[in-house]
Amino acid sequence: MSAGDSAAVSAVEGKLAEVSTNSDLKSLPKRGKAASGRTLNTAQIQLVARHPEVYEPCDDSFALVDALLSDKAQLLALQPSLCLEVGCGSGYVVTSLAIMLRQLGSGTHYLATDINQHAVETTQATLEAHGIHADVIATDIVSGLEKRLAGMVDVVVVNPPYVPTPEEEIGIKGIASSWAGGLNGRQVIDRILPAVRELLSERGCMYMIALEDNDPLGICHLMNEKGYASRVLLKRCTEEESLYVLKFWQDPTAGSSASPSAKSPGSESSWISQLPFRSFWQKNNSSS
């Protein structure tokens, strides 16, 4: 992956340019074409298991994996002991993560959860097809792990059900639970965030997909109040949606101890303006 790790804005704009020439239908062949640099680093789409009731890898899944790839150097430097995917679906993302970090060998272990029984089986099949092991658990978010795994997970990845839907659609079994996000698409996300914060280790980080409709800036503010810094790793516009990949990590200067204006110099000072985030945000917000 050539995208610079710190130059988030240009990396993201590079992505935007790349994607705008590319309709979603073309994204499959495109991945094939990009295979030279990519299949070595991600799950192979032909080996991803399928089931009619399970979310197939889609633009959002690819965006998340591309963002992880763009952050690969940091991930490797972190040398995570435990990585977790919440809502693993087909298993494409957790398998890709394990492949891109394979040089860490048996120093890194993977867990994956999904509330859909077919999804956990599909994930198992995808992992096996790639010769990767992760412990897969059928559960609601991380229920059952919250006590003993608190503070132990170094990397969490989430492509949550984020589509705004009527509240009743949440909790419906099967495929609907892959996208149904309730009011503003936030209902499941807002349960995932505190649960994941409990599990993250001090040096841990979380990568999450969010849609424009989910108010990603609001999510970042909320996480900031809880002591997490954030960054937009990637923004991608498809015909249907604007996707963001957000990264969160614990930051002692974030949260209530530091008022937004206390830190950086200049009038534009806020926790967010230190990151390439704000200007980027405003620029892109107006276009959609």
């Binding site: 002991s81 120093g107 272990h109 029984q117 956990v120 897969v136 059928a138 795994l149």
Partner: protein
Amino acid sequence: MRLLTHNFLASNMKGVSTGYPLGLEVVKSTIKEVELNADFLRGILPKLDWRALAAATSAAGYPDLLPAEQPSEAEFFAEGAAEFEDSPIRRLHRALLEIHIDEGTLVCPESGRTFPIQKGVPNMILHEDEVRA
């Protein structure tokens, strides 16, 4: 599911206070060898519940693999220990990361509620009336 995961799973039902450790009944288990990584084991060791691991190892069909009492750090990480088939660290590695539970049942120690393990996947999903408010 490996015993690593068993060691970190608890019952999360309404009305249950610790729900740990989960009882383990094994119908089928397999061994898949992986490379031993001493750093990983060193990091995870202080977080492990030894008794739960020893009990689960027995339940999986390996009653003699782990001692009832946890060996000391020095015993685990003695120079060259990883080379010896029978060393404490090799045994820990096998128990934690190489035994896979394919079919079986987890049992909540307080309520007796069972959680099936099928095709290697434990199902911890609760019914609506079992979920905490």
